[in-house]
């Protein structure tokens, strides 16, 4: 991984269209500004990890989903206890 040392206000350019600037630094936090094209998604890494986990939990195999459909059918046929 490329590592760079920057001071507050200094920039990093990624490709031709993405600009990252260090806005402020405190003891354990860095505030960063990012300028990128409109079609670029900018996401916090830990949130993406949680979505990956949620997707893995939701994914269903061919065998699983036959049973799940049966359960869905059952649950929609009457009120839940």
């Amino acid at each position: 991984m490329l590592q760079l040392t920057r001071k507050v206000g200094e920039k990093i350019l990624v490709g031709e269209e993405i600009e990252i600037v260090v806005l402020s630094v405190s003891r354990s936090e860095v505030r960063i500004g990012i300028q990128a094209p409109r079609s670029t998604a900018i996401l916090r890494g830990e949130i993406v990890e949680r979505v990956v986990e949620a997707n893995q939990h939701a994914a269903t195999t061919a065998a699983d989903r036959k049973q799940a459909v049966a359960r869905l059918r059952g649950s929609s046929e009457g009120p839940k206890r």
Binding site: A54, H57, T60, T61, R65, S76, G78
Partner: protein, 145 residues
């Protein structure tokens, strides 16, 4: 989920499955880029988002207007751009649901699948943190973060 009192066979339920193409698959399933969206006639309003490449990769989804509670998320500008749509254009929002052993389930309101219905382009978007990753699929219930 609200029990349906009447069965209405709408046009979409009889249509051939919609084919979806993603530049990058759902998060954690990045390599799975081609899906079909099948109606589950046995269990409306659930649909199945099924990988074309691997029958063991599929997700149960519910279209946003069919959710048991109001769900009209604000779509970020980058998502419209990726789907080659003008900002604010209409698109389909599919919510991924996890079905539990009792037939109940939770909906991932944080990261729905967006679909450009004109060309079948789709992507999974990650919305802001006010949207829960797991909300119970009952009209009022809530569970998880």
């Amino acid at each position: 989920m609200k029990p349906s009192q009447t069965t209405v066979l709408s046009e979409t339920e009889t249509a051939t499955p919609l084919r979806l193409t993603m530049q990058r698959g759902p998060l954690g399933f990045d390599a799975y880029r081609h899906f079909v969206l099948e109606n589950l006639d046995d269990a409306p309003p659930f649909k199945l988002l099924l990988s074309v490449d691997d029958a063991d990769v599929a997700f149960f989804v519910v279209a946003s207007p069919d959710m048991p509670f109001e769900y009209q998320p604000r779509i970020p500008a980058w998502a419209f751009a990726k789907l080659e749509l003008p900002e604010g254009a209409s698109l389909d929002v599919l919510v991924i649901v996890s079905i539990d052993e009792t037939g109940g389930g939770t909906a991932n309101l944080r990261a729905p699948i967006l679909v450009n219905t004109n060309n079948g382009a789709a992507l999974q978007v990650v919305l802001d943190e006010t949207m829960p990753l797991r909300r119970a699929l009952s009209a009022s219930g809530r569970s998880g973060p």
